[in-house]
């Protein structure tokens, strides 16, 4: 009697430990385990399950924004104070946006100057409706701390100006949306468009100015285009 009970016990023990071992024997990075507990995994067409941590498809979500809004790009950015933000944060503000890089000697300072001219052209009682965004095309060098220094050097009001650092692919996607062209040169400078984009409250591009040094006519036309709605 005792013998049988012992065998029974041994069998159960074996059964239990076996499943214990099975669980442990799955490779940690296989993703199979994660599949059971974490919901944010995805399966590629080849059947490989990967954790969905690295942006991709999740960043582009059907959202509340208009179909033409650049806020559809729901990617994570860091501002000059290293705070995580998405572009949708600027919804309901009128936005003036440009892509630049901090070590740029020629065109970028002129672009920033143009944006400051626009800022000063807006009446003081309306200025809080507007935001000014600079996005770096050199995210590996222009870390948020560098952007902070840049903002200080250019004397940009941190309440209205946001300088953004994002992943290389997110920068590319934003550039593609704006029609901004850039490429890195052998000496790690960039060849790039000089483009200022004006977004309405929904984040739709309503006006773009290509080239340097804005005249007052262009400024008032651009501002009017984003004040409509």
């Amino acid at each position: 009697m005792k013998k049988y009970l012992f065998i029974c016990y041994a069998a159960l023990l074996f059964l239990g430990s076996y499943f214990g071992i099975v669980k442990k024997s799955l490779p940690d990075n296989s993703g199979l385990k994660d599949n059971l507990s974490i919901s944010n995994v995805r399966t590629t067409p080849d059947g490989v399950t990967i954790p969905d941590s690295n942006v991709c498809c999740k960043t582009i979500k059907a959202g509340k924004y208009s179909s033409e809004s650049i806020y559809q790009l729901n990617s994570q950015w860091h501002d000059q104070d290293n705070r995580k933000i998405t572009l949708g944060k600027f919804e309901n503000k009128r936005v003036i946006l440009a892509m630049i890089y901090a070590t740029c000697q020629s065109a970028c300072p002129v672009i920033v100057n143009d944006m400051k001219t626009i800022e000063s052209a807006i009446p003081a009682d309306k200025i809080n409706d507007y935001r000014f965004i600079l996005v770096t095309i050199d995210p590996s060098r222009d870390k948020p701390s560098e952007l902070k220094k840049y903002a200080a050097a250019k004397n940009l009001d941190s309440g209205r100006w946001t300088l953004l650092n994002g992943s290389e692919n997110d920068v590319m996607q934003l550039a593609m949306m704006l029609g901004f062209k850039y490429s890195k040169n052998a000496d790690s400078s960039f060849t790039h468009s000089s483009l200022i984009s004006f977004l309405n409250k929904k984040g739709e591009i309503k006006y773009q100015n290509e080239g340097l040094v804005l005249d007052t006519g262009v400024i008032s036309q651009a501002i009017a285009s984003i004040n409509k709605n």
């Binding site: 009697m1 069998a11 024997s25 490989v48 179909s67 650049i70 062209k181 490429s183 040169n185």
Partner: protein, 272 residues
């Protein structure tokens, strides 16, 4: 031996039997699962070939640049992404279905030939390259499979492989290539791997569809006028097909979708 003991005896034997059977079955399943897992990883790899780093001569020089530009080694998909593969992507990512896609990411001809969001339909060959996809969609697909789009330099390098002797490629001379580029939009696109394989082991670089590249809007592709003065800055004036490719790329917008424009993906060597 009493009834109870007999009963316990039977139950225990039964339990041991079941335990052993389950153990054997389980170990089989686990081994299978593990090998399947490895296999899928391998098959993802085997769909790609290594292109060894080499010098590629860009059509246009950037300021202060040598006429040859070094392209680092990379893996490339041996064929373009098919309708079948893209269907899996839109199934898993509802925001990329035709009825959901936002205009800022793709124009109104996105997946135009498909019957419905999740039904390509009988007229669409599941094994032909997916077309009518925007740069944003191609970029998102490649990310989804843990890959990325090829750069222009990488594409040009991968397409420079000679056609293998006996390859059934219809396009093996510049003349034929120019003819192909000047052809209108095709009604029906053949299956992948139907136009020949080059010495790198890559299929259909010419003759099937044109392909998106990551940096198609590169300043030096788009910024320089292709005709007239632009060509005087070019490094290889006789490479007319290359001019046609650059001209085509510069006419594109990231949300453009065209009936002869598909894509394939690449992967860095360092990425596993």
């Amino acid at each position: 031996m009493g009834m109870i003991e007999k009963y316990i005896n039977r139950v225990c034997r039964f339990a041991i039997g079941i335990t052993l059977i389950t153990a054997v079955l389980n170990s089989c399943t686990v081994t299978l699962a593990a090998s399947n897992h490895k296999k899928t990883h391998r098959s993802a790899e085997s769909d790609m070939v290594l292109i060894k780093g080499n010098f590629n001569t860009p059509l246009f020089k950037k300021p202060g640049e040598k006429s040859s530009q070094y392209v680092k080694s990379f893996y490339i998909d041996v064929h373009a992404v098919t309708n079948e593969q893209f269907l899996k992507f839109v199934k898993a990512n509802p925001e990329w279905r035709r009825s959901n896609v936002k205009r800022i990411f793709a124009d109104k001809n996105y997946l135009k030939k498909w019957l419905d969001d999740l039904i390509p339909g009988e007229k669409v060959n599941p094994l032909s390259p997916v077309v009518n996809v925007s740069w944003f969609a191609a970029n998102a697909y490649c990310k989804w499979v843990n890959k990325r789009l090829l750069t222009v330099g990488e594409w040009e390098l991968a397409s420079s492989g000679n056609f293998l002797p006996g390859s059934k490629s219809i396009i093996n001379t510049n003349d034929k290539l120019i003819k192909w580029y000047s052809r209108g939009m095709p009604n029906q696109i053949n299956s992948i791997m139907s136009t020949g394989r080059n010495s790198f082991g890559v299929y259909d670089m010419f003759g099937l569809v044109r392909e998106w590249t990551y940096d198609f809007s590169d300043m030096n592709i788009n910024g320089v006028a292709i005709c007239g003065a632009g060509s005087s800055g070019a490094t290889e004036l006789t490479n007319y097909p290359a001019f046609l490719r650059y001209g085509f790329r510069s006419s594109l917008n990231a949300r453009s979708t065209l009936p002869n424009l598909g894509f394939r993906c690449a992967r860095d060597l360092t990425q596993n």
